[in-house]
Symmetry: C2
Subunit: 257 residues, 2 copies
Amino acid sequence: MTGLQGPGPLTRDGTRRSRPVRVAEAIKDWVVERGLQPGDRLPGEAELIAEFGMSKGTIREAMRLLQAQGLVVTKTGPGGGSFVGEVGKDRAHALLGNYFYFRNISIDDIYQVRIALEPELAASLAGRLTPEQLAELGRIMTTYAEPAEDAEGERAQHVASLVFHARLAEFADNALLGFFIGFMAQILADLTVYKRLYSKPNHELWRQGRDHQAGLVEALRNGDAEAARAIMREHMEMARRLMEDQEAVVMKRFMAE
Amino acid sequence: MTGLQGPGPLTRDGTRRSRPVRVAEAIKDWVVERGLQPGDRLPGEAELIAEFGMSKGTIREAMRLLQAQGLVVTKTGPGGGSFVGEVGKDRAHALLGNYFYFRNISIDDIYQVRIALEPELAASLAGRLTPEQLAELGRIMTTYAEPAEDAEGERAQHVASLVFHARLAEFADNALLGFFIGFMAQILADLTVYKRLYSKPNHELWRQGRDHQAGLVEALRNGDAEAARAIMREHMEMARRLMEDQEAVVMKRFMAE
DNA sequence: ACAAGCAATTCATCATGATAGATTCAAGAG
DNA sequence: CTCTTGAATCTATCATGATGAATTGCTTGT
């Protein structure tokens, strides 16, 4: 690791950067340069103290910066220390959720994007799912095989239906597409916890939604990309119309870590 | 702020959480509960130490955790302290970029999503831009009014063209849609710095791209949503074909903070 | 009025020591 | 021989107090 122990504040773009921040960036660069992989060991606290010539507190604050980003994990005990960590999907969702905390995202905003992306995902997944994956989707659908009795049951079914979409997103070969879709499913699932979105069960809409998903799985199994795309689009447009009747909710909370 | 000073590790879901993490979450909840806005003052270091009954180092590490997420900023001096901070677009880009660092995103993955989203953005922006915004887009386009002479010039023009898309994304009413598109523009711009994507200038493609964007701005000015959508789709598909000839690059770096 | 300089406030960093959790491995019970 | 148990040890975690650095705002001199 290079010299950095100079006493000066070492500006970069005019703004002063605190020592922990500079140490964190140095470690990030170090990981990139060496091409370290998740699980790989980073120098221990004591080594970093010696390496950077800084006090324990400063080094620890640097590690906290990296830990918050999900870039490192630390373990105690023999063989413990800091390790390169893969940023998890859930953490990325939370971090991105923070960005939208002060911005007002409406339900309709989410659906505008879903309508554009989910059919694309469905099409690209056609004929590419394993029997196990198809079976899992079918299993999720059994959660809402029967119409909901009350508002609470409707809520539970909607969350389960979002799990269906989230799982589909995880199957995507295109990690970017999968992440965007999974993030939106996460937001919608969180909203159902914090707001009463579902008032009166509507059996007709329930039946349409169930048929859509069943037809979608069948199209995916048959490798019919265009059918999958069409069904998903219709499914999304139906959901958007359903949501339009609900109040325009906005994100007003930090997502769970 | 509630009791938390108990000595026990206070598990939540079975996993033990370190004290700084617990303090950080408590502060997050505190911000949410009080509905604090960016710029609002948080208790000072000394107050937090007294409040939580923990040592300075622990509190400082908690603040680093929040700082890394962009949720707080701290300033020294009188009137200084910690403040609620709005998570910036750039920071959100960087945080999300970390998530994709160990996942292999191909250029084609990005374009699959762009083709689905950018036309949607273009359509929803038609007739909604101010004269100043339209003028700015025109100004960006002048950067590549003439065909590039060499590979380096081509690279510069491509980056400028991505600025066009990024700016368009910032104009979006739909913050979610805007962020996704801006993020992809950011990735592509970064890749051009780190990889030699652009080999031989192609004047015909350059002319098509220029005409597309000029036509797009005109459609936006006229409020012709469908024309804007069609032009953008064609523009994206052209860019995708152009990129297909290039090597399939993947993200292998941490994005700049 | 204006500006240079002083003083107060607050975070930033350092230094050191004690504590607690996790792992390993060997000894003992079954 | 296998499984439990517990001590040893390695590592991060937490605590305390002192010193440094940056910024604000007032004060004072012109």
